[in-house]
Amino acid sequence: MCSMSGMRAASNAKPLNLPRLAFGPLRRLSVFGFHQWDVLLAALVLLTVGGSALMAPLLAPAESMQQNLIQRLQEPSFSLRDGISLGTDALGRSLGARLLHGARYSLAISLTSALLAALVGTLLGTLAGWKRGLLDRLVSAMINIQLSLPFLLVALTLAAVARPTPGSIILVLAAAGWARFARMARAEGMKLSQSGFVEAAKALGQWDHRIFFQHIIPNLLPTMIVLFSLELARFIVMESSLSFLGVGVNPTTPTWGGMINEGREYLATHFWLSTLPGLCVFLSCLSLNILGDWAQERMSPYSTKKEGKADAGH
């Protein structure tokens, strides 16, 4: 199962230049000296999704989302004269317009709740790791409890009783997802509070809040940004799961998860109704994961895979 050559390649301190060979001729192509095609594509996908979400009202007028039973279940068409149309759903609403407007809701809700969770988690976690004591015990207990309950179950319970408005969904998602940020921030805060520059600042008599905001938080940011990009993918999946289960925002509001659910009935005849919104969720999350992984690998001191860096010089 494990040959000698495999072991050798792994245990050598300086790895051979295998990756360059493995990717073949494609690796020689580069955009501004940058070789990683998956990362470039991921960034492109995210820009496209984000951009079209922002410009949804310009690209597709809201009127095309109104019910029109005469035009129900039209198939997608592509022509030079009329442009691209993705057809209509069971109520005659334009699928393309709903996808674009759905991106606005889905992304705005996931992004806001992830930001809220990151903010609360980072502040609580860092403070706990830095100050220790009673605060740390409390925060740690909350983190442990939160992490041993599955995200979806907590969100579902909260969503079942909270009235489903965008605001309450954001709170539900943030309440169910802050703990991973807090755990990471706590570990980092503990490490940073013992580092030389924080000790030095303390010895110089600097105030606590200045140490916190000028020394600890800026050093924490890179780690938290990487974590954020990976977590945002989870928030997008979670938001779409809630809408899919019918406990998300109002069902008439277009969301990707809700559209997947509505389209399920027509899977045999009009498969694109539920697969296209799913593709949007999948591609957005895949791109976020690829970018997050790439950033994480570049930041890890032990990584042998700083391909972007290594390649830029050659």
Partner: protein
């Protein structure tokens, strides 16, 4: 002595977690509005509402209500389901085996595939296996399990007509839900095993093991895997929790008559006793699983005292 103490600590934490959840569920159902108003038809008279309130004990103080709720919940009594009219707990326990069956099958299939792949990828970086493992873990993380389910239904059931798309009964009914869940599970196990092995294989003690003439298989099996194991078991324990919670979605997609689907339907019917019982039982199973993983640690790593 210390071992006993820390086992006790774990047990207490688990109990505290369940208690915190029960408190949360209680507060949410009581503070988010009048439960009686939700239970009764909207055209009921104020007298009828008042009668129901006193029948449910809602006219008493919040603390007293909580004591009643807690003493009943401890005995597994969450009241009768509003929709079915029978004990919510009994309904939940009837559905639990179907959910456990699905989760267990998915865990066995997913891990059986993920562990060899992760080991191959970890031991041979930058090969086909490594790239396959990266592909699998990225897809596992990014693909919502219900969408994967829909795509599987579309091709395997609708287009090719190979296995039934929904329901429970024969082994062929299990094929699609288990496939969807296990593909989803494979992601993190493969990822953790791959990353950890690749890190471990660069450590000094691996080099000295190789230097004293051990074969590659021996180094991998005796030294590297033993140390990668602990991270993988942690992930597997957490995954079982996510898996049981995630069956909520999978069961809805495949119309699998399990606990998750019951809870989702109960939420749509605002059947709070049933939601409470379902969530508490699922959470209790998950917390028990996490507790067992915690207690398994010292068997894998002697340095960890329980």
């Amino acid at each position: 002595m210390q071992r006993g103490q820390s086992i006790l600590h774990r047990l207490l934490t688990a109990a505290a977690t369940i208690w915190a959840l029960s408190l949360l569920v209680f507060l949410l159902t009581r503070l988010s509005g009048d439960p009686a108003a939700l239970l009764i038809p909207s055209d009921a008279s104020p007298e009828e509402l008042a009668q129901l309130r006193s029948q449910l004990g809602l006219d008493q103080g919040l603390l007293r209500q909580y004591m009643v709720y807690l003493s009943q919940a401890v005995r597994g009594n969450f009241g009768d389901s509003l929709r079915y009219g029978t004990s919510a707990m009994r309904l939940v326990l009837e559905r639990l085996p179907a959910t456990m069956q699905l989760a267990a099958a998915a865990a066995v299939v997913g891990w059986t595939a993920a562990v060899p792949l992760g080991i191959l990828a970890g031991a041979r970086p930058n090969t086909v296996w490594d790239r396959l493992a990266r592909f699998v873990s990225l897809f596992g993380q990014s693909m919502p399990v219900y969408w994967l389910g829909i795509i599987l239904i579309l091709f395997i059931s609708v287009r090719w007509g190979l296995v039934p798309a929904s329901g429970r009964g024969t082994a062929s009914h299990m094929f699609l839900p288990v496939l969807a869940l296990s593909l989803n599970l494979m992601g993190s196990v493969t990822r953790v095993l791959r990353v950890q092995l690749q890190d471990i294989l660069q450590q000094d003690y691996i080099r000295s093991a190789r230097a004293k003439g051990l074969s590659g298989t021996m180094v991998l099996g005796k030294h590297a895997l033993k140390n990668a194991g602990i991270g993988v078991v942690t992930v597997m324990g957490l995954q079982l929790g996510v898996l049981l919670g995630g069956t909520v979605v999978t069961e809805t997609v495949f119309a699998w008559p399990g606990l998750g689907r019951l809870v989702v339907q109960a939420i749509q019917f605002r059947d709070f006793p049933l939601v409470q019982a379902g969530v508490m039982v699922l959470a209790a199973v998950i917390i028990a699983v996490n507790l067992v993983t915690d207690l398994l640690y010292p068997l894998l790593d002697r340095r960890v005292g329980v």
